[in-house]
Subunit: 203 residues, 2 copies
């Protein structure tokens, strides 16, 4: 029983992840999730009483994938350069494996910011982020980098990493590239962003 339970529940979570990530809460259908999981609607509701409950499970996983990484990195005792490189590398790896993650999270977060922010963006995130401006300002006063506002720099960093995934359909069309070429551009971005940021920060 426990064995079967786990398998079915995991299959449901996998299926729900795929469907919610690609269609969002409003566009997702319980029927489609059931199909993907190879079960029927009745059983789906047996495991997750409501669509909302199932969604919350999926969203929690997704948000955690995004938030936990940054938490861990910012908590470590590293130089600003090292922190930036780690963030770029880890997020690019994460997003190359889950390209729909940022669009899904940002979109749902936007539709219902208060609810999810209160639940998942706890004080820990804010307090570990607060160390980033300190690092930046230290480097600025040492003269190691030119003056940059820490919030703007963090925004730049996250933008450069995440947007190419969110904006794929648009950029790909403008460039006239196919999926393969675009994927190469994304893979090349890891080193590009690191160089780009370093260059932008030089005094």
């Amino acid at each position: 029983m426990a064995q079967n339970d786990k398998n079915t529940e995991q299959r449901i979570l996998d299926a729900a992840g795929e469907v919610f990530h690609s269609k969002g809460f409003d566009g997702a259908r319980m029927q489609e999730i059931a199909q993907h999981a190879g079960i029927n609607k009745g059983l789906l509701h047996y495991y997750f009483k409501t669509k909302d409950a199932l969604f919350d499970a999926i969203f929690g996983i997704a948000l955690n994938q995004i938030v936990s990484r940054i938490n861990i990195i910012l908590e470590q005792d590293l130089s600003l350069d090292e922190k930036i490189d780690l963030i770029v590398d880890q997020y690019m790896d994460l997003l190359l494996k889950n390209p729909m993650l940022p669009r899904f999270v940002l979109n749902e977060l936007n539709k219902n910011a208060d609810k999810f922010i209160a639940r998942h963006f706890n004080q820990k995130v804010k307090s570990s982020f607060s160390k980033f401006p300190i690092s930046v300002n230290e480097e600025v006063s040492k003269g190691a980098i030119r003056f940059i506002d820490a919030h703007q720099l963090f925004t730049d960093l996250i933008s450069l990493v995440m947007f190419p995934f969110v904006g794929k359909p648009m950029l790909q069309t403008v460039f006239g590239t196919d999926n393969n070429e675009y994927k190469k551009l994304l893979e090349a971005r890891k080193s590009h962003i690191k160089e780009f940021l370093k260059a932008a920060m030089r005094v």
Copy 2:
């Protein structure tokens, strides 16, 4: 009649814009659009036979707002620096007035890329973009900027401009800022991005 027609139709378009932009196609309700416009569902369907037809009108306007600007700028005979500055200024202005535009467009574009891309991203966009890499490569060979892949640079540019709007709920929470402070950060971004890009491109 023509007078009243136009007023009602315009009120519908305004209302539909608000609702579609904030909730997306799947989350939007004809009932809510009718309410916003101060009419009832029957009349709404009289002006736009189906939800799809109404959505197409709204999406076309939105996509055009984004695409037309870049088209015009890239067609002009300007230096790379001037082009970049113009794109940053014009898009930041556009998005500060319509903060939900990029998320709306990118999201819907993603759910149904083929359909909309074929209809709206015509050959004109691609051909006017093709001039961007030429400008970049010229500057590189002149030694005016360091070597940068043109596609990456364009991706950087659009990312830096658009992402802060798409990612507002996340960044705002991480920063712990209220709406007013975040708006100031966005307004300050115009000059920040221009400086940042210049610095990153320096040899």
